[in-house]
Subunit: 315 residues, 3 copies
Amino acid sequence: MLENLNLKKLFPSQNFKETEFVKNIRPLAKATHNDLTFFDNLKYKNHAMSTKAPICITTKSLEKFLPQKVKKILVDNVLYELAKALKNIFPDADIDFPDNTLKPISEKKFENIVFGKNILVGENVKIGKNTLIGNNTIIEKNVSIGNDCVIGNNVVLKSCLIGNNVVIQNNCCIGSKGFGFIPMKDKNFKFPHIGKVLINDNVEIACGCTIDRGSVDDTEIGKNTYIDNQVHIAHNVKIGSSCMIAGQVGFAGSSTIGNNVSIGGQAGISGHLKIGNNVKIGGGSGVIKDIEDNQIVMGYPATSVKNFIKRNKNK
Amino acid sequence: MLENLNLKKLFPSQNFKETEFVKNIRPLAKATHNDLTFFDNLKYKNHAMSTKAPICITTKSLEKFLPQKVKKILVDNVLYELAKALKNIFPDADIDFPDNTLKPISEKKFENIVFGKNILVGENVKIGKNTLIGNNTIIEKNVSIGNDCVIGNNVVLKSCLIGNNVVIQNNCCIGSKGFGFIPMKDKNFKFPHIGKVLINDNVEIACGCTIDRGSVDDTEIGKNTYIDNQVHIAHNVKIGSSCMIAGQVGFAGSSTIGNNVSIGGQAGISGHLKIGNNVKIGGGSGVIKDIEDNQIVMGYPATSVKNFIKRNKNK
Amino acid sequence: MLENLNLKKLFPSQNFKETEFVKNIRPLAKATHNDLTFFDNLKYKNHAMSTKAPICITTKSLEKFLPQKVKKILVDNVLYELAKALKNIFPDADIDFPDNTLKPISEKKFENIVFGKNILVGENVKIGKNTLIGNNTIIEKNVSIGNDCVIGNNVVLKSCLIGNNVVIQNNCCIGSKGFGFIPMKDKNFKFPHIGKVLINDNVEIACGCTIDRGSVDDTEIGKNTYIDNQVHIAHNVKIGSSCMIAGQVGFAGSSTIGNNVSIGGQAGISGHLKIGNNVKIGGGSGVIKDIEDNQIVMGYPATSVKNFIKRNKNK
């Protein structure tokens, strides 16, 4: 957890005193009265208007949506300034360096679990009782796994907290850095990813999935949600509980999916969307707009089933 | 192989005698006069009408399609009752527990093959002569591999039978549990998967593919079929011989694909479909209906090339 | 590198003398006055007209496009004859046999790098200084990795040359054989792949990507290009510099992508296309035609954004 970040260290070129601190850097809606936040996208206007954060990085054109009492750090490129600030504090969060604390798992330390061959475990890893772990699996430092879980072979776990009774099948990569960077002519500026992946109880994740950790926020998979093979979940995505995500579905970053949502194979969900509860999305659909609760949609761009049938009539 | 399943143990709440047995649990079309079968989907009406099985789990609304002489076990949710019955008999088939019989491969036991480092092999594994196996590969119990095969690195093989002259490239997962479960409010009921993956002679499977084992039936890849990188093949899918499946294609469960079928990259095939012989499916297509022999289709939903061109005219 | 290929050995059934040699086999546009080339697709007519190669395998219907002075080897199926010729010279290039020179990485030999556990390295591998390598990673013979790179866990590197400051995340397969073969009734003829994958400086490749090596040409990723999770790049594809390729994008073989191109998640690019510089391709699009510089396209088939909106109006 982040705590007591020195603002002068975060933003050397801004006019902060050595003694000014924030507790954490968090998105608009999650920031408390001790946190720094950032506002770079009109989509989050409502979050901006009600943010509790006392300080916010933003642009000249967006500052008007923030409460008066919020101190604004005005910049041209919010994400670039945020990335630079994070890099000052977390110099290793922008590249997935191999964890240098990894050691072969020790039977003494993890006595109530069953595990295969060639497992590597980093510092401060917690694994609950009755959990089984396959072979060649890597569990990096600070990862926590609950009770009664089954983790497959060739899995890489990093920066994640896993609940109880979770199944993660072979060849999954959980908690890798998301696809975030500031484009630069010859050498992009990599966005530090300080978030985690939170996987709640009873989740099942099939083979070959990738779930990236959050950038500033966390990525989260709700309770009892099942995810089929080769699904890609980008940074900051939140998936609700009891969802069914079929094979090869892809989620771009920062979308929020409700509860009891079912998504057919190969569908794609664009970034920064809000999908309601009980939504059904047909296989192969491309969702590029928010969807309200209880809707059934299909096609690319995804539309109601009624429209989809009309769209393809006589064709 | 399953044999002599006690019906009272399968269905404790039904009125079976201790002495009633079936030999196996099999789909409608494959069940013999000793097997239990199940019928839950009107799509299989014709199979139901001609099934040889003496006992069938089905619903009140479907039972009329079954021959009179078939004893019906009437339930509300066929797959749930079947899942519970299977779970009674195969308590470990609903989760891919790591194989606890795995040991480093022994040169003595497998003397006519060439293999790399850190290979693990389970009990009762058979590997044919002149087969080569890469590094970090896991071959779980009861897997059989033919002669002259090449298996890559980081491959996980489970519940599968592989013919001769088969190539499986790096990071493939063959035989994992399919994406099958009965949705439940807080904790889904996982469907036991007792089927296998059958891979016939001369097949080539490129990197990062996932081929799930069958639930009650088997998943099968026909002779001389070639499969490109990152293809996902769900449970119970049957692919014929000499097919060409390009990269990132996905098959939902239980579809049957003919011989000499070619499928372009990223196409998706919905579940429970029948695709004929010599069919060509354009890249990126979404197939949601059966396709007859010799058709060429494109688009989403996939349609004949003629229609596809018309659909996109002046656009 | 290929040098001094004996033409009689390449084509035993042709009328070559024992003393006739070419230096290399290269595509039309790249062949020098010492190389053999091949011409099988009208798309490359312009390349054919200006090729420098003295000898070319082609068909009766295409030979007219080649300069008069070029010696033509006329065949029915160019790729089949080329495949057979390559197989004569490179008998092991048509299957990815595990590298039998692999050994556990030696601290003595690679002293300026940091590496994890269970890493295997083949003969003649070069790794630059300050490079970090994760666990269970396999680096096959002749692979070269530059300075300041970070290679993740479970990565397989084969037939590739990697520049400086490159990041390759977990579970990637770089340099595997492409999906190329001559369909045959019972046993396809596998096309030997003698090309490489060239990855230029500052590239980032996220988890679970597959980048196949070239067949006769090379596959190439330009400087500062970033590639998200689960992207598939087929043989001979060239991607320019400073591109952004989002998750699950797929490239069919032999397409050329310009510089500063951004491609949204799950988009697909057909084979043998030319995409210009500064092109933006929307997520989920299917590109089946060349695209000129500076265009923004969406949909399947991909079209200008203006057309895409019109296409979906009132729908």
